[in-house]
Symmetry: C2
Subunit: 574 residues, 2 copies
């Protein structure tokens, strides 16, 4: 490709509205342009990468025995009503009416459509297992789309769905997908980790996320420093401390704490460590009858620990999705505002985090605005309470696997696999005749890859101050051919044209910068674009029939004989 | 691929709701399934074909210098308001609101988005010409979707848009696209014809359609029997007859024609040829002021000719889109109903088709219900009238190119190229600095291929009573491997497995029918699917180490030595 016949669209300045490096570099390198909030046009430099990612995903899915299909992006409301998600999902599910006033959605995912398809097409256990996938544009009307294609409204996804009659069979396909995903991210050239994950809104029992490791990642992921254990922080269990709770020695004392509402403020005022303060959070419980106000539940955590909302939401009797009590409801039940809450004298259900439950002689709110209590103890001062795992793990916690301590890194979720069970098949009555000739509901798995998101994640992991550094498999071009001042030198032009012809004929994807630009501008653009191999043609070396080679990642430079360029490049591309 | 691990989904019966052969065969061959009106899931047998078509289209577009991009399917209303199509397009343009109540459309085409992109990215004549394309799912909310993927609401399209500063430059790219399209349809293995076409709602000056020839085609296309001339019937000019009008010899006579309202009834009653009857159609003219009723225009045609609505719509002063007068308006102006209309004594504008204008002593309605006039003549009896080309050409008409006579065939439109001019660029102020440093509006071309429609068109052209006969380039599989009663014979099973392995290793796409089915069922499925080459393994030939080869298209059968199968198949695939 000649830049003169191409849409290069690089930008010198970093666009002000791009917060993260991949978004900035995708704009600067002419990969994407914003059309509307969360919607992007993929420019030539972008689509070349996207199509390579797509091809690798497709190839590995085929190799793993998955079979490609393509479902419509527009889906009839009836299917979502049948599964129950029409009511359950919020405005992220984009609903609209067609010209006949029938309800449709713009597909954010395809569990309903595939379940409907399979219940119609598959009637016998002989046709199972079946693993169907598609690579398709999805739409989720995110409340706050951001970070470019990282969290877009319209995006490209690979979604697969498998159908089985037994858990064993599901697990076999799940393992095959786990392996296929590992192959995909390995081939893409990305540093990644599969981690145990929560199943969230999709439902089901077992789930892994695949994360590209990057310090800018939105998600915290947790590793053992002594085993293979890895989990999303939402999922990682905080084990109960093994040391017993110290004895209750201090008396309960009320202390005036004017203007101290946060843990940090209270800790500073009273000169105690945050770990010696217990914070109280009030959330709504499930209603057990229709009368009276909605019950509240008090969650107790150490002042230096963070609530894990997923864990809290899973407590029996707690309203899902987890909802914090309003200031008015807090006042009505405790007589105090949120900054002065504590468990002493509370007449509502109390659940203490495992780590909070072993703290003695602690500080907490007094349920009286402007006051805290010190010397508070479980059992002695708080008769009724439950203990549960409610917090996010922190670095240094013992690993739930029993080996080693936890380390926390940042990751970008690019894949997610689920053992769904019969969540959709049961609701939609999707069954087949089993070996005994009886109708049996199928069990399902589902497996997603964020194809467009991978492009951004790869950049978060692979860049420097000059721009993108593409892994070989997904670079938009393999070689950048940069003739310096070609328009002033027939010799340089001839060499460049000959090399372009020879490299292209050898099947190499070359970006030939034939613009009338200063060499500095051309070098900067090729660095920004992240083309892995650069060939620079300059007057200085031409007498010896040499050109300069530069490796984008290492920065290493060397001189190559013109006649060896094709062979040398081919050797580097293997 | 083994059928046992695949989703074959063939049907024995022809679905009742499928009207045309490609829709029937796509359902029966397990290629598509209806999800909702005009929306289809592509099953494995379908997507394999669709992806091959897509790959050929992409390859030829790249070879022709077009550059791939990918625009969002969801488009902001503002762009459509800017181009004027937000108001102009009917409910076919699916409009909806996002969670923030902003207006969007589901993209039926992308002139607005690409023009917006290019006006932002391109600022200088040096960056032109530019030809950008995408292969993307489109949505058009058709009033009456039908014929499966032939006229679907959601479909896959390749759309390209080129940008220029001169008509010469546009014409050069237009020619390159014309050639690329010819290459695409040639590689697909389809019988096709490019024909001159009307530019319709997209606008612009010059346009060609590419038609796959098939007797079931929706469109009539017109050829000269003595030259290269070919046109859509909407576009083909009916030349003015060269023979002069005969003299007016008969007197005007009123004849009672009770119950004769149609041309056929009047012709039968009066024993005259339909070509001697002139029919009168009333359509609305453009309003010249806001007062009074909307003006009507009378169109006169020979009784054996059909009105060409595109030609009529283009007449100056006629309302666009062409709208026929209501019965009430006809009555108000003529005093008669539609079946008794005629030009004599009419006080409205009259336009006679060129062929009608040379008929003498003709029959027409008397503007009095139940009566016709005979012996009517232009000039003598109808003082004021214009003459224009208003009719569809018919077989035997002289070719507008001046050579030969016209022949009419049926076609399916699968591609359409337009010289758009500045229709969009002017409305959206898309310009660049030209060589003189002045801002100049660009001129555009646009080029569409109906990727999913091609699949259906290929079937309309290539099938027999047993099913589909795929052209080699787009067959879902190249070889069907059919072992007879494999489950009863180790020898057959071993041979089949060995051939499957050898063919697959040689890069051949094999569908290995390893189901426990009767041979008749397997043969019927492979014929239905249209796999080009069949290898049948039976006990009878195994002693001599032979298998049967059958060519799907010719039906020719021969015996092949097992050891030669791979080489023979590879030779056939070249």
């Amino acid at each position: 490709m000649r830049t003169s016949q191409y849409l290069l669209s690089t930008l010198k300045e970093t666009p002000a509205d791009a917060e993260i490096i991949s978004h900035q570099l995708m704009l600067r390198a002419g990969m994407i342009r914003r059309e509307a909030s969360g919607m992007y046009t993929w420019l030539p430099n972008g689509i070349r990468v996207l199509r390579k990612v797509e091809a690798i995903v497709r190839d590995e899915m085929n190799k793993a025995g998955a079979i490609e299909v393509l479902m419509p992006m527009v889906q009839p409301a009836e299917l979502w009503q049948e599964s129950g998600r029409w009511e359950k999902m919020d405005a992220e599910l984009l609903r609209f009416k067609d010209r006949h006033q029938r309800d449709f959605v713009l597909g954010p995912t395809h569990e309903e459509v595939i379940t409907d398809l399979v219940r119609k097409e598959v009637s016998s256990y002989k046709q199972l297992p079946l693993n169907l996938y598609q690579i398709q544009t999805k739409f989720r009307d995110e409340r706050r789309p951001r970070f470019g294609v990282m969290r877009a409204r319209e995006f490209l996804m690979k979604d697969a769905y498998s159908f089985h009659l037994s858990q064993e069979c599901l697990e076999k396909t799940y393992q095959a997908m786990y392996q296929a995903y590992s192959n995909i991210f390995t081939r893409l050239g990305l540093g990644f980790r599969p981690v145990l994950a929560d199943t969230g809104a999709i439902g089901g029992a077992v789930s892994h996320e695949f994360h590209v490791l990057a310090s800018s990642g939105e998600d915290a992921i947790v590793f053992s420093d002594a085993s293979d254990y890895a989990a999303n922080i939402e999922k990682a269990e905080a084990l109960a401390p093994t040391t017993p709770r110290p004895a209750a020695t201090a008396p309960v004392t009320e202390i005036a704490t004017p203007n101290a509402g946060t843990i940090a403020e209270v800790a500073a005022l009273l000169a105690v460590d945050a770990s010696q303060i217990i914070k109280t959070l009030l959330v709504y419980g499930e209603r057990t009858d229709d009368k009276g106000p909605q019950p509240l539940v008090a969650l107790l955590l150490r002042g230096d620990h963070d609530l894990n909302e997923i864990k809290a939401e899973k407590l029996a009797g707690v309203q899902s999705p987890l909802t914090f009590a309003t200031e008015a409801d807090i006042k009505a039940v405790t007589g105090a505002s949120a900054g002065s809450l504590g468990p002493v004298g509370l007449s509502i259900r109390i659940v203490a985090d495992r780590s909070a439950a072993v703290v003695a002689n602690f500080v907490c709110g007094a349920n009286k605005d402007g006051y805290h209590l010190s010397g508070v103890n479980f059992d002695r001062d708080i008769a009724q309470y439950e203990v549960a795992d409610l917090r996010n793990v922190v670095e240094g916690d013992p690993s739930p696997c029993g080996q080693g301590q936890l380390v926390i890194k940042r990751g970008i979720e690019v894949g997610h696999i689920f053992q769904l069970g019969d969540r959709y098949a049961a609701a939609m009555k999707a069954g087949v005749l089993n070996e005994e000739g009886k109708h049996q509901i199928m069990t399902m798995g589902c497996y997603g890859v964020g194809v467009s998101r991978i492009v951004a994640a790869a950049i978060e992991q692979n860049h420097d101050q000059h721009g993108i550094i593409w892994p070989a498999a997904i670079a938009p071009f393999q070689v950048a051919l940069v003739p310096m001042n070609m328009h002033k030198s027939v010799r340089i032009q001839d060499t460049a044209e000959a090399l372009y012809k020879a490299l292209t004929a050898a099947g190499v994807e070359v970006l030939f910068d034939d613009r009338k630009e200063r060499p500095g501008v051309m070098f900067a653009d090729m660095e920004l674009l992240g083309v892995p191999h650069h060939i620079v043609i300059g007057e200085r070396n031409l007498d010896e029939r040499l050109v300069e080679y530069k490796n984008r990642r290492s920065g290493d430079k060397s001189l190559l004989a013109i006649d060896d360029v094709v062979a040398e490049i081919l050797a580097k591309l293997v």
